[in-house]
């Protein structure tokens, strides 16, 4: 299980290859990319602030939760902080499992939880100035669907 918060870029191919093993027939990855538009305006850049210490702990908690819900051979989460330009990679999740359904579900779970629980905040620089990104209700809804009653 790998969890990293870093300024520098990451290589999806390298992170996927790290989880490639004979007992993991299925490897799913998610790469998040900074989009070039926001609220109908061109995005100049995006700055990611986080809560050092808590971020890593929270990502580890989320990854452990995924491992307790699905039978996984490996989990990696890498999240960048600092200033990013449109088109740059921002987040990576990789899951490895014996079968594809577990790998897909766990990757989607990790992204949904990361978006609602990991202490990152995005500030956008657009033509109209700087704006803090508002949390989306759809992300809370996405995370809530994993809750067991």
């Amino acid at each position: 299980m790998t969890v990293r918060v870093q300024h520098e870029d990451f290589e999806p191919g390298v992170e996927i290859a790290r989880l490639q093993r004979e007992d993991a027939g299925a490897i799913v990855s998610f790469v998040g990319v900074v989009r070039g538009e926001s609220h109908g305006e061109k995005l100049v850049s995006m700055t990611l602030e986080h809560f050092p210490g808590m971020t890593e702990r929270e990502l580890e908690r989320i990854a452990k939760e995924a491992r307790s819900c699905w039978s996984l051979q490996g989990v990696s989460v890498v999240h960048r902080v600092g200033n990013l330009k449109p088109g740059e990679r921002i987040v990576l999740v990789v899951t490895a499992a014996a079968h594809r359904r577990a790998a897909f579900e766990a990757a989607e779970f990790l992204m949904d939880y990361l978006k609602t629980r990991a202490p990152f905040w995005k500030r956008e620089l657009r033509a109209s100035g700087e704006h803090w990104v508002e949390a989306r209700g759809s992300d809370d809804a996405a995370a809530a669907r994993w809750k067991r009653d």
Binding site: G32, G53, I90, M111, L114, K115, R117, A118, W121, A135
Partner: protein, 83 residues
């Protein structure tokens, strides 16, 4: 006690962290927020709409009813927007 602020709370308050001598009247995260807001200025602005503020106690998400004590680390921030 150590208090941390992130994102626009940090900007409004004008600092990212501070040491606070916890008054005896403050027993929960919510009471701490109210006590900080009473300082006025940027603090009042930051905590004006408390529904937009989240908290962590010793680096774990908590709601405003969570009890606090001297030596705790409390962080206030907007809903997270990573990923």
């Amino acid at each position: 006690m150590k208090v941390l602020y992130f994102a626009w709370l940090r900007q409004k308050i004008g600092r990212g962290e501070e040491a606070v001598d916890l008054p005896v009247a403050v027993r929960t995260v919510g009471e701490l927020a109210a006590w900080l807001a009473a300082r006025g200025g940027g603090y009042a602005e930051a905590f004006a709409d408390v529904k937009r503020v989240r908290a962590a106690l010793n680096q774990e998400h908590v709601d405003f009813a969570a009890p606090v004590k001297g030596g705790d680390e409390v962080a206030f921030f907007p809903p997270v927007t990573g990923g």
